[in-house]
Subunit: 104 residues, 2 copies
DNA sequence: AATCTACGTAAGCAGTCGCTTACACTGACC
DNA sequence: GGTCAGTGTAAGCGACTGCTTACGTAGATT
């Protein structure tokens, strides 16, 4: 889980993840979306996402097709929601109250 | 925003953040919750959280009192929710459908 | 078989991280 | 004023990161 959070903390990986969010893409196609970085760098990012189980890999001849792994994404979201839930509502109320006071 | 996500990706900092979630705490009190790490390390973690605006600092004589900054926490949560929203529902549906098929 | 395409991976590098120890500073207390 | 408690910060260290270049390898194409 910590792996997943650390993986998500990197902007480039968030973008990659969004690319394979809805459709399966080959590594080369993913890499070609980034013109300021090597194909190798993207491959390594894909490795991180794979180890974090945020993407799944499927082989098709030469190519490797990637897609987001919904179970793990849901797990991550749930983890964070539980984290927020451990006290944020109260804080949000406090923040909104403070805002109202400021606007008075 | 990226600062906040990176800050949250570190388990120790998540724990610190939770400590000052609901009540204000002095740096020493925070540090004393961790017995496997130096007070200095905690102070540096607090620096990271402060720069990410996830905590606010208030001085009281000798001491510095920390508390979570609700605005930034809400901003981070919103950012992530928008990220999930950019396609996760569909994936979640797909995952649940796959689960149902597996259970058949 | 030779070669090309698609990809992972090893090596190396500069930068960052999380940590420790050591020091500096600022208020409280005598 | 001198000391003490509370705290940030500089320096240094080993580990890790994100990147590049270079290489390896499996499958498609000829």
């Amino acid at each position: 889980m910590d792996l997943a959070l650390k993986a998500i903390a990197e902007p480039r990986r968030r973008e990659i993840l969004r690319l394979v969010w809805t459709s399966e893409l080959a590594a080369t196609d993913i890499a070609s979306h980034f013109d300021d970085v090597t194909r190798s760098a993207i491959s390594q990012h894909l490795g991180v996402l794979r180890r974090a189980k945020l993407v799944a890999e499927r082989r098709d001849g030469n190519r490797r097709l990637y897609r987001a792994n919904p179970e793990e994404l849901v797990a991550l979201r749930t983890f964070l929601e539980r984290y927020w839930a451990s006290g944020l509502e109260r804080l949000q109320d406090a923040a909104e109250a403070a805002q109202r006071i400021k606007e008075m």
